[in-house]
């Protein structure tokens, strides 16, 4: 019934590209924020800057972006696996437009609410909707922040987030709010970028900075690891959690094309602790190192994008669950006697 399932690992086939993560930055964040008054409110990303970057991305965005389209289709494909229908759906920031154009009636959505923190991005979707409306779907638009979800409790059947949540400072908090917005038995579907994303770029940046500046600063943001995704779902209180991972390798003509694509996706560096100055020779050295370390024989440079897909349900009595401990009436030894000889 709700057999969305998991743990498959399909090593790439398509090409696209993606975004940054920089593990090396973590230690400094922790110490720098230790005395911040908010305590657990660790601020890693500059959300205001991210809004501006997404405003700009709305103008740079390509009509068709194969990476975003593939991720959106893969995510929406999961709806086909459910018998349940989702009359009201909330689509959170990230690749909004890719989700909208990939919907094709998945999950019999009747009302779609699209939300992003960037007004330009929402406006872009609204214009696109006016040009090529999705049949039978009443689409509405809101500008809102995933960390402060302006949605009434138990009001939507489905929450989709396509490549947006990795920019939240408080990912567990955002997921808890998404869970609260869901009706009982509602589905949460999210795609986030994982820690393997842009590993080539991270290496090239580090080497170039060491060489030219004698030290490193975070250029690629810290991203969740696969094992974190499952913990996040459980911590947010979703039932029947599922996580799976896909890796896409996108080929670019040069490292500079990669950066252009990141800009068009609004996925450029928005770390609070970023170094605001990027020296020209460091940038060129990064491109050169990227090229010499990772270029393929045909001269193209690959970039890895790891996408973690998460599914979780809001709890409902109709869902299957484990029986109480100690409630079993048959011993495992008996089971082994019955079936053990076959194995």
């Amino acid at each position: 019934m709700r057999a969305l399932s998991f743990f498959r690992r399909s090593p790439l086939r398509r090409s696209r590209r993606n975004e940054p993560f920089g593990t090396f930055s973590f230690a400094s964040f922790c110490s720098d924020n230790a005395d911040a008054p908010q305590g657990s409110r660790l601020k890693i990303f500059d959300r205001q800057l991210k809004r501006k970057q997404r405003d700009r991305a709305a103008w740079l965005m390509r009509q068709k972006d194969s990476l975003l389209d593939t991720v959106a289709e893969n995510l929406l494909d999961r709806l086909e696996d459910c018998k349940k229908t989702f009359p009201t759906a909330l689509c959170l920031g990230g690749s909004l437009e890719a989700i909208r154009r990939s919907l094709h009636g998945c999950g019999s959505i009747e009302k779609l609410i699209m939300m992003d923190a960037s007004h330009e991005m929402v406006q872009l979707c609204k214009n696109a909707e006016e040009e090529s409306p999705n049949d039978n779907i009443e689409t509405t638009f809101v500008v809102g922040d995933e960390e402060f979800l302006p949605v009434k409790e138990s009001s939507v059947d489905l929450v989709i987030s396509c490549l947006g949540l990795h920019w939240t400072n408080d990912l567990p908090g955002a997921m808890i709010q998404a869970k609260l917005a869901l009706k009982p038995d509602g589905l949460f579907l999210a795609a986030i970028l994982g820690g393997e994303t842009l590993k080539e770029l991270r290496i090239a940046c580090t080497v170039a900075q060491m060489e030219r500046e004698g030290g490193i600063s975070p250029r690629v943001s810290p991203l969740a690891q696969v094992r974190d995704a499952g913990n996040l779902l459980t911590r947010a209180g979703f039932t029947l959690p599922g996580v799976d991972v896909d890796e896409y390798t996108v080929k670019y003509e040069s490292a500079l094309d990669l950066i252009e694509h990141l800009r068009a996706m609004g996925e450029t560096n928005a770390l609070l602790q970023r170094n605001n100055i990027l020296k020209r020779d460091t940038a060129l050295a990064t491109a050169a190192i990227y090229d010499s370390m990772f270029a393929a024989e045909d001269g193209s440079v690959p970039a890895t994008f790891q996408v973690i897909y998460m599914t979780g349900w809001r709890e409902h009595p109709s869902q299957q669950k484990a029986k109480r401990r100690g409630s079993a009436t048959i011993s495992f030894q008996d089971i082994q006697k019955q079936f053990g000889s076959q194995s």
Partner: protein, 93 residues
């Protein structure tokens, strides 16, 4: 007066029925009220107004403007709008 503000709420301004039903204040998660005069959504619980641009409500906390008590009762029709404000407060609390 009661009928009038009810009508205001039902009409729900430029936002469709769906949004009116679903949107709440992002900070307090309390209901929002549409204000025709300023074309904004007002959260009475925390006294903040959120703008509506081009038919798209903007509910990012940093876009909200804190309302001064005086602002809710515009000088032109002080009695009228402050009464409406009080009523809505009563209903929401």
């Amino acid at each position: 007066m009661v009928r009038m503000s009810k009508a205001l709420l039902q009409k729900a301004g430029p936002l469709g029925k769906t949004l009116t039903e679903i949107l709440v204040c992002p900070l307090s998660k309390q209901p929002l009220r549409y204000c025709e005069e300023t074309n904004s959504l007002i959260s009475d619980a925390i006294g903040v107004s959120f703008p509506i641009k081009n038919g798209i409500p903007s509910l990012v906390p940093t876009d909200g403007k804190i309302l001064e008590e005086e602002d809710t009762s515009k000088p032109e029709d002080t009695a009228n709008s402050s009464a409406r404000y009080d009523e809505n407060r009563g209903r929401n609390s």
